[in-house]
Amino acid sequence: MNSRELAWEIRKKTLEIIHNSHSSHIASIFSVADIIAVLFSEILKLDSKNPKWEKRDRLILSKGHAGLALYVALQKKGFFDEKFLDTYCKDGSYLFGHVSYKNVPGVEVSSGSLGHGICIASGMALAAKINNQNHRIFTIIGDGECDEGSVWETALFANHYELNNLIVIIDHNKMQSLDFCENTIKLSNLADKWKAFGWDVFEVDGHNHEELKKVLQNTENKKPKCIVAHTIKGKGVSFMENNILWHYRDPQDEHYLKAMEELEKAKP
């Protein structure tokens, strides 16, 4: 399964699961789907048969509300079966609406409260440096998550400790919970801010797999790397794109059918 196929699978399975479980955050998951797909298809060194393999790359989904994208990718890559995935948000399931590690193979760290995962990733990166290990630590944060002060605490820290094994990908869809970021807390030019904190910063189209692959494969950075991935919230379903409604709403009836029809047409 190539990255485009995986991205499509993430969106389709997400649509089904969110529809069935009446859960939220479908637009955030669609926003990050291509980034997750490229990471799992082309970048991360993982072993689904040995999820705790010492030399694996670490992926921490700091924007834990998009956890279903991670769960679907893990399932498609063989970390667990589809039956387990289908328990998402059901009574007794270990698959919460926000990422949780307990009894979920392949999940490194639980998140859900923003501004935590990226800091844990910094700690993992520092430990890898001290241990002379060569794996890389990837973390995906949201742009709204950059409102959290801890993000900037760790931005300073990672620069000071020269954590060039740490890669932060910002899913920059320009929207957060209630409105566009610019109408909430102005982020202005995110890339400039990270540059000012001493990071190697790259800007890409977060739905362009070739651009994502290129920037993620590059390991020549001497500083911690920040990839500002410009994305569209709700990407892949026309009426969800850039529509704040779909941060929380779950698609039912005609919305579900229309969304499925659009996704089916876009099958790679």
Binding site: V109, S122, M124, I130, G149, T154
Partner: protein, 309 residues
Amino acid sequence: MRETFFTELYEIAKKDKNVILITGDLGYGLFDKFRKDLSGQFINAGIAEQNMISIATGMALEGKKVFVYSIANFPTFRCLEQIRNDVAYHKANVKIISAGVGFDYGTLGFSHHATEDIAIIRAIPEISIISPCDLFEAKIAAEYSYKNNGPFYIRLGKGKNGNMEIKRNNFDIKKAFEIRKGKKIAMFTTGSIINEVIKATENLQKQSIDVAIYNFAMIKPIDKEFILDSMEKFDIIFTLEEHRICGGFGSAVCEVAAEKSKKARIIKIGLKDDFTFVSGSPDYLRHINEIDSKGIENIILEYTGRKGK
């Protein structure tokens, strides 16, 4: 107390390179030797406690045994969610070492008073809490927390008590320790405020009131069996802590005691539901909050019906 703790930790870290010490830019002079000799195991995370706790979690999840240091309010209140979501939920091998108990930093202002930390940390699952009363227990706390995997919160007083003059052969940190025998009245205490208890009980003895003293180095998990036995043995049990009475050590004792109906009643001594708005030395602030030896003595006299006699 913190010197004793970190001297012990230095010896441990010398033998185990996976021991990491992270400070939140505090501990002036305290870590000079550690920093010089074990520079690869020492990290200053700067004045950023939220990040510090998450960094510690990340390192612990990669196999490090991480000791985090800061003063009283900083490694607790400031980063509570990181302690709950990151350290505790992941059962990360992180030990949070907090210097300054209650009013240790009395003159620095209410911001630096550690008077609700036990209550707050105690409510979080998976974290063991140690509250040493003197240098002996501080050293044991370092050893014990190193040897036992998982989250710990260790509350270190300034340690001006030095060491209690009492033999502690076969000391078990998990168990309540008898400091003084007595029959009807008992005082359960934790942390460095024990010196006030000893003074109070000496005065009470002169008035023919015998008070047994039991010290709890470990608050969570607490010595449940001993508490339940004591409920049968004593008529009245006082608990004492340099901390608010809401949710702290006394509350922990009451929670156990309430499980079974026994004969003893429990009176909690500690800080009331109010801030201390004035500056002062630890002794002064203990005094005005009535948790100094005189205050303790008065409360015991009141509840034993001897006040004014």
